[in-house]
């Protein structure tokens, strides 16, 4: 097996030579298309070198071929990202952050010192502490603590890094999800996947570079903005592939139009467009011809890759996926297929992790247990499957929510909730990362005895974003886009790479 670094380097060289070839071709080319593309292509190369000069001209955006593959700042460790977001925020205290002391303090009033100057979404007055509602054990060579709610995941503890001390400054779902994915709690900024697609282009011209899969019956709280393109050109937004109906909107030809006829019709459109180009000489017309060709290819490629029916039974067994339904497990299996086909960024959202204790579904000891059952097997399978295919090293897998949950039982409007539940907690929560050059079997950061505040290794969501970009070969401070007179970046003015978790 070829060494991974070697492969990545070869890929980088191949891309560089493609760029040169294209530039050379454009120089020679006498048509307008060439010249049009040339300016933007060269413009696009500027930011690869030193700092981008201010001004929109510095943006690496080629309107004629916005998805052309581009090189990052340095040799990447990861080629693709699968980001599993459990929307609603899973409880770190029942999954990864083991707190025996909290167990002992179960039912006691929360010390005032924890409440001073704090704002909660729903907790009012003095709440009671709620002990951990799961059994924990150490696993693997690394001895990572993982709760029994994730029995499958326990077996791959040695593959992952668990970060227990992520902090955010938002305690409502919408803004916190935006901050996690777009680097700002306000709307209007591009999402992580959009930044990555803008920075890298797409490897597979028959598939979108950034694909979003959702499950749990709802879109994430922050809506489609969490995979939006913000102020970046809209071509970089995530393509939401649906689990029911057509995977991509309007992908299916009308009933009564078979492939041959669609082919004939695109041929006719492009033939007339070529005539138009000959008459008017507008390079955009040439681009449109190629977009129609690409659309035709996508019509084949997308349903093919989105179809999990042909996966062997043992794979379905591994993931717990069911080709006849729609589920998180199906989406996780799909994510592996997409990455295999060259998709850069697969964003998975699973809705329903908001365990306040106001209903059985939202109870720590009922709803959370069920949600864990649905994700545990599939996310474990993903790591095993990627590893077996030799893809784990170059695929960064991230799992987490938008914040954590309080060590206190929620008392909404000052009343004890009906079920065991925890409020939103922004000061410490756990995520795990695996593959793509991340350390294996490693636990990073420690929280205090009840899991309330970090005591060491505190990191912010910006640090997570910076690290993710770093693994893809980007300096998060240099992946910028000029907008409103200044360069913007995913991490705004924050963020540093969490070096300790890089292998």
């Amino acid at each position: 097996m070829m060494h991974k670094d070697q492969r990545l380097r070869q890929e980088a060289i191949r891309r560089a030579s493609e760029l040169t070839t294209r530039r050379h071709f454009l120089k020679e080319c006498r048509t307008g298309m060439g010249l049009m593309g040339l300016g933007s292509l060269l413009g696009g190369c500027d930011w690869l070198g030193s700092k981008a000069a201010p001004g929109v001209a510095g943006n690496a955006f080629d309107p004629v071929n916005p998805m052309a593959p581009r090189m990052p700042h340095f040799a990447p460790k990861a080629r693709a990202v699968i980001y599993l977001h459990m929307a609603g925020a899973p409880s770190q205290l029942e999954l990864f952050d083991y707190k025996p002391e909290l167990q002992r303090l179960d039912g006691q009033q929360c010390p005032e010192s924890f409440l001073q100057g704090k704002k909660f979404a729903f907790i009012r007055g003095v709440p009671k502490l709620l002990g951990t509602q799961a059994e924990f054990r150490q696993h693997g060579q690394s001895g990572l603590w993982v709760s029994d709610l994730l029995p499958h995941f326990q077996t791959v503890a040695d593959e992952v890094t668990i970060v227990k001390t992520v902090t955010t400054d938002q305690f409502n779902h919408g803004p916190a999800q935006l901050l996690m994915h777009c680097g700002s709690p306000r709307l209007g900024r591009p999402s992580m996947g959009a930044w990555v697609t803008y920075g890298l282009g797409s490897e597979n011209s028959n598939l979108p570079g950034f694909i979003v899969l959702t499950s749990g019956g709802k879109n994430p709280d922050a809506g489609k903005s969490v995979w939006g393109s913000g102020f970046l050109p809209s071509v970089y937004q995530g393509v939401h592939c649906r689990s029911e109906g057509e995977p991509v909107l309007f992908l299916q030809d009308p009933e009564g139009m078979d492939r041959d006829l669609r082919k004939a019709s695109i041929d006719a459109i492009n033939e007339v467009n070529r005539i138009t180009y000959d008459e008017l000489g507008d390079p955009e017309t040439l681009s449109r011809i190629s977009q129609y060709e690409m659309a035709f290819k996508m019509q084949i490629a997308v349903p093919e890759v989105m179809n999990i029916r042909d996966e062997p039974a043992h794979v379905h067994e591994l993931y717990g996926s069911d080709p006849d339904g729609a589920s998180l497990a199906n989406n996780i299996l799909l994510a592996r297929k997409l990455v295999e086909k060259g998709v850069r960024f697969v964003q998975i959202f699973d809705w329903g992790w908001d365990t306040h204790g106001t209903s059985p579904d939202g109870a720590i000891d009922i709803g959370l247990v069920n949600k864990c059952r649905k994700v545990d097997r599939a996310m474990t399978a993903l790591l095993l499957d990627l590893k077996q295919r030799g893809l784990l090293d170059e695929t960064l897998v991230v799992w987490g929510g938008e914040f954590g949950r309080t060590p206190m039982q929620e008392n909404r409007e000052g009343k004890q909730n009906l079920f065991k539940g925890r409020d939103h907690h922004s000061d410490a929560f756990s995520i795990w990362m695996a593959g793509g050059g991340i350390r294996k079997g490693f636990s990073y950061g420690e929280t205090d005895e009840i899991g309330y505040n970090p005591v060491s290794g505190k990191v912010s969501v910006y640090d997570v974003q910076a690290t993710l970009l770093h693994q893809l070969g980007f300096d998060h401070e240099r992946l910028t886009y000029d907008f409103q007179g200044r360069p913007f970046r995913l991490t705004d003015v924050h963020g540093s790479v969490i070096r300790d978790i890089i292998a």
Partner: protein
């Protein structure tokens, strides 16, 4: 001959003087221009560390007084007239890398240093960016004279109006020649799409093509400008700028009722409301004396900000977010300036100080809205019978009541303001904010309303909901043991919130009010007994003892509960006793209020107009003043972009020093000046001026040479080809199919949309397909949901409209192709287009295809195109004849068209609607 005779002396002396002067003229150093030469250099090399954000070494080059000062080193950075004595020059030319500037970056070139030396030597004059200088009447370059003799005669003959003179001058400098006028078919389609957003009707095209009068073109332009479709087309643009949506945004993204604002825009455009009034009414229509309902609706412009209904959110945080959005939108959309960065620190590059942001914000900080669920304040427009009874009450009050009291009552009926929202309550005992939106109280509970002015108030009107009888509410001043000013029963209500009025014991002055609620029928201490919406402390209904008092008061009470009413969120200003102070937010965080500020505009721009009040109305007049250097330029530039696909200054959103400078600054100024001073700020006159130019009328054919010389077409030696907007594409398809409904105005509609687009959490709303012709309304009437916008609008470069969108960046993607190929809305259009064309020539598919192509492009079908389309038709026909069942799929329904012949035509129609010529404006 004696040379030294006095006369000769004089001659020699004058020759000498002439030579010296000439020498001085030729060899003296040319004057360095700050704005075009120095400022760009400083922005590029210095301001990153010595500007509005960072002042390393305690030194900044943003403002002249700072630049001429001393940094931490104690040395004067710039000594005007003395480059050698200026620390700036010394630091640029050192060799020690720790000392030499720019720090640890490449040094300035010798030429750059020399430029700065000369600039300091000449006095280090400061200057303003082009967009901050007053708009002056730019004289168009003259035609004729010996210089113009050198110009290719093509230019002289080509020019139609002043615009062309500016364009011609630059073309000549670039060695380009203009293109000839496009043919009439192209022109009529171009004009119609640009002015009305729709393709020309058959009748209009035929009329224009047959019109041989010399002013046929002008007549066509005037006809289009007078069409009601005109207002709809320009409203489509303004909706992006106003971030208009039919939902509130954020997590729950529930429905919002604000379509009256959209209709206001259409009417304002159609009656060609002057742009200055258009802005004043949108920014501060509520503060115009005697504001009409329409003027209040106009202020919904800034109520298009989002409202967060997510449980547990801090209402003040999202109120502040909305205010900040109003500031940013006002600057970006109306004045082409990126002000958002001043929220956290002084502008890095443009002359705006951090404090300027919050002084400007102070103008917006006293609007009544507080992120309430109901989105108060809401304009209540009474309809039907209630509108008559409102008019009657209005008349009675104006005859029988003190005018100020009359105004108070009418204002309250129209806006339900001023009212204290219950979400501002605090000091909760057994009470709480339910879902952080409404005050709820339990068995024996209390809560507080802060700082209520009771001066002259004799009555309390409150709005509450209770599911339990026996509730008793007591209100005390200053403490839980304070004086009782009201004690009232608050019985069970039916069907939601209910109005209830009670007399107050008169008390003067401002007091904290303590609310106590008791209800013996509540057994469970955790059960909510009552939920409050708002409190209105007011006076008695005026005109007691006058004839008709009882009837009038009864009418007032009925109107309070009116259901025949259209509600629209609008701006209403806080009365003086509810005034909010404004502060600078340290580093832009609302949680760190700093120094207190009063309303004001940046000192670097023009002053407020004389007599402008220190409120939003004064601000609005400042924005819409002819002295404002940014407003007219921004608007004219945007209109140019709408017609030519790119602004004269490309960055519509940033005319500052970091934006792309205009290609034709003089033309931009010329148009801006004419717009304000000749056209009376009227858009129709401006558009007319532009579309009558030869520049606009050019052919869009681009020969290889022209593309080579000007690939981006910045010198406009050919007409640009621009892809139609999402709205235009949909409207065009419906119009060509003959499906487009001419119905204007009203609630937003829901045309066909695939399932599964709307999936917002905690929101039971769903997309319900509108009946009848509402399926086929123009795109501006389509319901716009922020978290799930209409798919084809987004695919064609629209945004969710969470914040304003200054400019759509056009892309060209396979997903767009899939949309126009397969979106059932476009397919339906293809079907009806072909039914329409086939019925005109039965049995002649070739004729039908010709007709459809001509309808879609205006042009006759050329032979080579005919071959391609007929070939497709043959293949389709063969396929459907072979398997006739598929024909029905293509037609969509079992009806008279369900046959292979028509299905094959629909396949061709679908292709025609996807042609580059049809998707573009040529």
């Amino acid at each position: 001959m004696n040379l030294w005779r006095p006369r000769r002396y004089w001659l020699i002396a004058s020759l000498l003087v002439f030579c010296i002067l000439g020498y001085a003229f030729i060899f003296s150093e040319p004057r360095v221009d700050y704005s075009t030469q120095v400022k760009p250099l400083l922005n590029r090399k210095c301001l990153g560390c010595h500007g509005g954000v960072k002042q390393k070494g305690g030194y900044s080059l943003l403002f002249r007084d700072e630049a001429l000062g001393k940094g931490r080193s104690g040395r004067t950075a710039i000594v005007p007239g003395d480059p050698d004595g200026s620390e700036l020059i010394r630091r640029l030319t050192l060799t020690d890398p720790e000392e030499r500037m720019p720090y640890h970056e490449a040094p300035l070139s010798a030429d750059e240093v020399e430029l700065l030396r000369r600039w300091i030597d000449q006095g280090a004059a400061w200057g303003e960016n082009w967009s901050h200088t007053p708009v002056k009447e730019a004289t168009p370059p003259a035609v004729g004279g010996w210089l113009w003799g050198l110009m290719p005669s093509a230019h002289a003959r080509w020019i139609r109006n002043d615009i062309d003179r500016f364009i011609a001058e630059k073309q000549r400098a670039a060695g380009l020649e203009p293109s000839p006028e496009a043919d009439r078919t192209t022109l009529v389609r171009r004009l119609s799409l640009d002015i009305t957003g729709l393709p020309p009707s058959n009748a209009l095209s035929r009329h224009f093509l047959a019109d041989t009068r010399p002013d046929a073109y002008e007549r066509l332009v005037d006809t289009l400008l007078a069409s009601p479709a005109y207002g709809e087309r320009w409203t489509a643009l303004w909706l992006d700028l106003a971030r208009y949506a039919d939902t509130k945004g954020y997590e729950r993204d529930d429905t919002r009722n604000i379509w009256r604002y959209r209709d206001w825009l259409i009417k304002a455009f159609n009656r060609d409301m002057p742009y200055d009034s258009f802005l004043v009414e949108q920014i501060a229509g509520d503060l115009i004396p005697g504001a009409t309902d329409d003027q209040l609706i106009a202020t919904a412009f800034h109520r298009n900000t989002m409202t967060n209904d997510e449980g547990g959110t801090d209402n003040e945080e999202f109120r502040t977010a909305a205010v900040i959005d109003r500031v940013n939108t006002t600057w970006e959309v109306l004045m082409g300036t990126t002000f958002a960065c001043v929220q956290c620190h002084s502008h890095p590059y443009d002359p705006f100080r951090h404090q300027d942001y919050y002084r400007f914000l102070a103008y917006f900080n006293n609007a009544r809205d507080e992120d309430t669920y109901a989105e108060y304040p809401l304009l209540h427009e009474f309809k039907g019978k209630d509108s008559l009874s409102f008019k009657g009450l209005h008349t009675w009050l104006s005859l029988q009541a003190d005018p100020r009291e009359a105004d108070r009552v009418l204002t309250f009926l129209r806006t339900r303001q001023p009212a204290i929202n219950s979400l501002t309550a605090d000091r909760f005992v057994n009470s709480e904010l339910s879902d952080t939106k409404w005050l709820v109280m339990r068995r024996a509970s209390s809560s507080r309303l802060r700082q209520v002015d009771l001066g002259g108030r004799t009555r309390l009107l409150l709005r509450y909901e209770s599911k339990r009888d026996d509730g008793m509410l007591t209100i005390r001043t200053d403490s839980l043991r304070g004086r009782v000013i009201a004690r009232l029963r608050v019985p069970k209500t039916e069907g939601g919130f209910h109005h209830h009025e009670t007399p107050l014991t008169p008390v003067e002055g401002v007091h904290d009010l303590y609310l106590e609620y008791h209800n013996p029928s509540l057994v469970d201490p955790d059960e909510n007994g009552i939920r409050f919406d708002w409190f209105h402390f007011t006076r008695d209904f005026p005109g007691r003892g006058r004839p008709g008092f009882d009837l009038a008061e009864a009418a007032y009470r009925r109107l309070l509960d009116s259901r025949e009413v259209v509600l629209t969120p609008v701006m209403v200003e806080n009365p003086s006793d509810m005034h909010r102070p404004s502060h600078v937010f340290e580093k832009g965080s609302w949680l760190s209020p700093g120094e207190r500020v009063t309303p004001g505009v940046p000192a670097s721009l023009h002053p407020l107009p004389a007599g402008a009040p220190p409120d939003r109305y004064g601000l609005a007049r400042w924005v819409a003043s002819p002295d404002n250097p940014l407003t007219a330029r921004t608007f004219v530039n945007r209109m140019w972009e709408q017609l030519f696909g790119r602004g004269l200054a490309e960055t519509l959103e940033d005319l500052g020093t970091q934006g792309i400078p205009p290609t034709h600054p003089e033309l931009l100024d010329h148009l801006a000046w004419q717009f304000m001073h000749r056209d009376g700020w009227r858009l129709k006159a401006l558009l007319r001026r532009i579309v009558l130019s030869a520049t606009y009328r050019q052919d869009s054919r681009a020969d290889a040479n022209a593309v080579l010389r000007d690939p981006a077409n910045q010198w406009l030696a050919r007409a640009p080809r621009v892809r139609l907007s999402a709205e235009q594409l949909r409207d065009q398809a419906l119009a060509l199919a003959g499906l487009l409904s001419p119905r204007m105005y009203g609630r937003s509609v829901m045309p066909f949309q695939p399932d599964g687009i709307w999936l917002s959490p905690y929101n039971g709303r769903s997309w319900v397909k509108s009946p009848g012709e509402d399926q086929y309304r123009r795109a501006i009437y389509t319901f716009w949901k922020r978290t799930g916008p209409y798919p084809s609008a987004i695919t064609f470069d629209g945004t969710a409209r969470e914040v304003c969108l200054s400019r759509r960046i056009r892309t060209n993607t396979p997903l767009q192709a899939l949309t126009t190929l397969n979106d059932p809305a476009f397919l339906e259009a293809a079907r009806h287009l072909m039914y329409r064309c086939a019925s005109a020539s039965p049995g002649r598919p070739d004729k039908a295809i010709e007709a459809a192509y001509r309808l879609a492009t205006g042009h006759p079908l050329t032979d080579n195109r005919r071959q391609a389309l007929l070939k497709l038709h043959r293949e389709a026909l063969a396929s459907y004849r072979h398997t006739p069942d598929k024909a029905c799929g293509m037609i969509g329904v079992h009806d008279g068209h369900d046959n292979p012949e028509t299905a094959a035509l629909v396949v061709v129609g679908n292709a025609i609607l996807n042609l580059d010529e049809v998707l573009n404006k040529n």
